[in-house]
């Protein structure tokens, strides 16, 4: 069976980036520290978008580049598409604006 591929930029990341368009139900192969791991896509994922590599609870950090890129606004299951519908920015800027 041919898997779609995704890239995990940092081993601690909770989001992997799909390298091709993924249909719901397809399996994706991601390499983490040289070990291949498969995920089943629970949503259709456009190319270069994020797929959840692990479950993330509501309010928990989503990590990419080894850093927090935001928090889950709702619980996210492994295999779901991560984007504006379930990921929000942590509003924290130098000028103290809200």
């Amino acid at each position: 069976m041919i898997h779609k591929s995704a890239l995990l930029i940092h081993p601690d990341d909770t989001a992997a980036i799909v390298l091709e368009e993924v249909k719901k139900g397809e399996t994706i192969m991601v390499s983490r520290e040289n070990r291949p791991i498969t995920i089943t896509a629970l949503d259709p994922i456009p190319v270069y978008h994020k797929i959840a590599f692990q479950n993330v609870g509501k309010g928990e950090k989503v990590k990419k580049y080894g850093e927090q890129i935001g928090v889950a606004s709702v619980a996210i299951q492994k295999g779901e598409h991560i984007h504006e519908h379930n990921l929000v920015s942590v509003r924290d800027n130098c000028l103290g604006e809200q």
């Binding site: 890239l7 930029i9 850093e67 929000v88 924290d92 800027n93």
Partner: protein
């Protein structure tokens, strides 16, 4: 692979051996260009500043022109001034003398009585410098003398996805070998500055990182511009970027993961080892110029859409993860890491290849921009000219 450099009398290590013809100001730039035409083994730069500017801008012009002369990729220089400019030649030369004993010629158009006489004398001086430079021989050096600048420009989705992560791994390896890497482009930190600051080695470094971002935002707000509003834009979101932190981290990641040792001002000489942040604009040519003025001998520049830019005295190695860009603009692009995006190569394998290329270029292999003789220079400014 061994690293081979020029060990300068002032202790710095050079990876090129240029004779640089430098104008103190815009008025002497054309004269410098004519000298370099007569002595093609030299490089000249255009200096659009050095006069008609506020004092704070003159300070930047002076620091950058001095920094370019001091950079160990330069064997010797010929400085040409007009005579009445704010970037006074003798003040500039004092700044240079305090840091290095390399040979620097001094010619002033108003003293010589016109451009023809200045060009003649400066060219004769440059010819002798070129002859002396040709006697220099490389020796084996360790990584502690290497400072690598990083830059991203003409970015697209492949930049944050692959090219910058590859460059980040190269920086990590270089630093672990004892070298130094510079992360710049302060405007690109906006949105993730708190995450970057957390990696500062000391409280002072952490505060400096936040301060340079805050100051830059305030500076731009004076003209009514915010870099935060509306980011990420619709194009970014379509390409998969959800939050501003994510967008900024995509840029920041080109500097790697090591702790940040120091934050330096634009063009200021870099003395510490490890990962350094320099406060530069995101504007590519100005950013590269600042880092080179601070002493970096090589730059790796990631690009999604492609760019031909180089630098007068430092190789600028262009790297893309966009397969089409490498096919269309291969003439201007040194490295293709699109294999990471098409799953033919891991980030680690690509980083290994890139580090080998960095060493080859350091040792003398020419980058595409050098083959084309592109000597782009630009200096950051605080405000309009007077």
């Amino acid at each position: 692979m061994r690293l081979m450099g020029y060990r300068r009398a002032d202790g710095r290590i050079g990876f090129r051996n240029h004779v640089l013809i430098v104008p103190t100001c815009a008025c002497s730039s054309e004269t410098c260009r004519k000298v370099a035409e007569l002595v093609p083994a030299c490089v000249s730069i255009v200096n659009q500043n050095g006069c008609g500017e506020v004092e704070q801008n003159t300070a930047i012009t002076r620091e950058v022109t001095a920094g370019l002369i001091i950079n160990p990729n330069v064997f010797g220089a010929v400085v040409i001034g007009l005579g009445c400019e704010q970037n006074e030649i003798d003040v500039l030369l004092e700044v240079v003398r305090a840091k290095t004993g390399k040979t620097v010629g001094r010619f002033v158009i108003q003293e010589e009585g016109g451009t023809a006489e200045t060009i003649r004398k400066a060219a004769l001086f440059a010819e002798e410098l070129v002859r002396q430079a040709s006697l220099c021989i490389r020796e084996e050096v360790d990584f502690s003398g290497l400072i690598l600048g990083t830059e991203c420009g003409g970015s697209d989705t492949t930049s944050g996805l692959a090219a910058n992560p590859v460059l980040g791994r190269v920086c990590d390896r270089l630093i672990d070998l004892g070298g130094t890497a510079i992360l710049s482009e302060t405007t690109e930190f906006i949105g993730a500055e708190h995450l970057l600051a957390a990696r500062g080695r000391t409280k002072e470094v952490r505060e400096d990182i936040l301060r340079i971002v805050q100051d830059y935002e305030k500076h731009l707000l004076i003209t009514g511009n915010s870099l935060r509003n509306g980011q990420p834009g619709p194009g970014n979101k379509k390409g998969g970027i959800t939050t501003l932190e994510e967008k900024s981290l995509g840029c920041i990641h080109k500097g790697g993961t090591r702790p940040i040792e120091e934050v330096v001002e634009y063009g200021r000489e870099i003395r510490k080892k490890g990962l350094i942040i320099m406060d530069t604009p995101g504007y590519d040519i100005a950013s590269v110029t600042g880092m080179v003025a601070g002493g970096c001998q090589l730059v790796v520049f990631t690009t999604g859409r492609g760019t031909p830019t180089g630098n007068a005295i430092a190789p600028v190695i262009k790297m893309t993860a966009n397969y089409e860009t490498y096919q269309k603009m291969g003439e201007n692009t040194d490295l293709d890491v699109s294999g990471v995006v098409s799953n033919k190569e891991t980030l680690e394998e690509a980083a290994d290849r890139v580090l080998q290329e960095v060493i080859r270029v350091a040792n003398g292999a020419l980058s595409k921009a050098e083959i084309l003789g592109f000597s782009d220079i630009c200096m950051k400014r605080l405000c309009n000219y007077i």
